[in-house]
């Protein structure tokens, strides 16, 4: 019996001894156990857009993002047009963050005097810790409206509101792989209520490939390619490809880039005629984003 008690107490002692040791040598905080915190991935991109397309990032709740997008003319136009700088096309837009996972936005482009509006919702937020999500999933649905006096250019087809409209929906699957590298894939569906002729499909399906390589805290290289699956006529080189630099200066994010696409919303850059990269039909452009805190946040 005595031997049994001895054995049990020895066993207990052995069981507790290492614990006691670790409590003394390690951190006092160890006694609280592991943190039950979810670490959500932030700053996968500097901005809510890669270049033309939406990124996996959202803007913060209660902030207004004033966006000015500028595209100059084609570089291939040569010296007479100052390599495109003499011409410019732009989009002015406002985005607002309703909640951490929901934002809305609208804008107007000079090209086709087109209005566009969208809703963007984050279904899943990449995170580690107590909740482990390898990717972020973001849904975007938008509508576009051609604002030209004569959007169709065919007297036999009367202009109606519905014929001015187009829609797009996309799912962004993105992952900030390391602090430096972010990649995303975005299957996209664009619907146009009216197209130029019977050979051009009303429905366009595309896959966007976007990414970022961060050089420093304030400088990153970004690219954005949209592979349009059923474009007519099919031309790989006419798919929108944009490459650029993200430069952050305090409250502003500047994106300087080269692109063969003129359009500045999903319908426009995926379905409108883009230049051919190899022929130099590309344009210099920039996106300027300025974020304003609209809703007050108490910090206690």
């Amino acid at each position: 019996m005595k031997r049994l008690i001895f054995l049990i107490t020895s066993a207990l002692t052995l069981f507790f001894l290492p614990l006691k040791g670790s409590a003394q040598e390690g951190s006092l905080l160890d006694i609280l156990g592991k943190d039950e915190v979810t670490d959500y991935t932030t700053n996968a991109f500097k901005s809510s857009r890669v270049i033309n397309g939406h990124s996996m990032e959202m803007i913060s709740e209660g902030t207004l993002d004033f966006r000015i997008l500028h595209r100059f003319g084609r570089i291939s136009d040569g010296f007479y047009e100052m390599f495109g700088l003499d011409r410019a096309s732009m989009r002015i837009g406002f985005d607002y963050g309703i909640s951490p996972n929901l934002m809305v936005g609208f804008g107007r482009s000079t090209a086709k005097k087109e209005m566009d509006a969208f809703v963007k919702y984050r279904i899943l937020w990449q995170s580690k810790g107590s909740k482990n999500n390898p990717v972020s999933l973001v849904w975007v649905s938008g509508i576009t409206m051609n604002g030209l006096k004569d959007p169709i250019g065919n007297p036999e087809v009367p202009v109606t509101l519905s014929r001015r409209l187009g829609y797009y929906h996309e799912l962004i699957i993105g992952r900030k792989i390391t602090d430096r590298l972010t990649l995303q894939l975005s299957p996209t569906w664009v619907h146009r209520n009216i197209v130029d002729n019977q050979l051009i499909p009303n429905e366009l399906f595309a896959v966007g490939f976007g990414g970022r390589v961060k050089f420093t805290q304030r400088l990153a290289f970004v690219w954005d390619y949209g592979y349009v699956i059923n474009r007519f006529p099919g031309n790989l080189l006419a798919n929108p490809l944009s490459i650029g630099l993200d430069i952050e200066t305090g409250g502003h994010v500047f994106q300087l880039h080269f692109s063969n696409a003129v359009g500045m919303n999903e319908r426009a850059y995926l379905s409108d005629t883009n230049g051919d990269w190899l022929k130099g039909d590309i344009q210099f452009g920039f996106n300027l984003s300025r974020i304003f805190q609209v809703k007050k946040r108490p910090i206690e």
Partner: protein
């Protein structure tokens, strides 16, 4: 001989429990800082969190703190983003920690109501850099529960946190940090 061995064996776990009970902790410690620069503008460079963890050992006078930097709330969301992304780099260095010793801990009666001024000597780690830190504060015991409070200053340059010259007048190099924690006895 066997009896002594048995006694030791019995006492060792007991000693462990006694020691464990002499610790106090919290998971809801409040930490705030003010980095308001010389320029007086409407944008306040202040932030606060209530998710700091702290364990204090009554027997040795040791204490440790840890705070998740992503937990800091700013009035301005963009400022919060820049704080995490550009200044403290919270993806690389998620926590700020402090490990210290109450110099005069014999004077602190952890179970007797009263306010005890203390000086804590230790090391703070922030942005991957560890520096010595001396902070004055109080241990206030109320209804048998101790509360810790302290205000101290740290220099951002000591922790290799660089402030771009553009915002040099907006953000102070020496920032004031306030900590407050109501501790509970730790029970295993």
């Amino acid at each position: 001989m066997k009896k002594i061995a048995m006694l030791v064996c019995l006492l060792l776990p007991a000693a462990y429990f006694v020691q464990a009970q002499s610790k106090y902790f919290t998971r809801t410690g409040a930490v705030s800082f003010n980095a308001e620069g010389a320029m007086d503008d409407i944008e306040e460079v202040k932030a606060a969190t209530k998710t700091a963890t702290c364990v204090a050992d009554q027997a040795s006078g040791q204490m440790e703190w840890a705070v998740l930097l992503k937990g800091f709330q700013f009035k301005n969301a963009l400022m919060q983003e820049h704080f995490n992304e550009n200044y403290v780099e919270s993806d690389k260095f998620p926590k700020a920690t402090f490990k210290g010793q109450i110099d005069n801990h014999a004077n602190v009666k952890w179970t007797t109501d009263g306010t005890y001024p203390v000086v804590v000597n230790g090391k703070m780690t922030l942005h991957g850099i560890t520096k010595d830190l001396v902070a004055k504060g109080t241990v206030q015991v109320k209804s048998g529960k101790p509360a810790l409070a302290s205000d101290f200053f740290v220099k951002l340059s000591d922790y290799d946190i660089k402030i771009p010259s553009v915002v040099g007048t907006k953000i102070a190099n020496e920032i004031k940090i306030s900590v407050n924690a109501n501790l509970e006895p730790f029970k295993k």
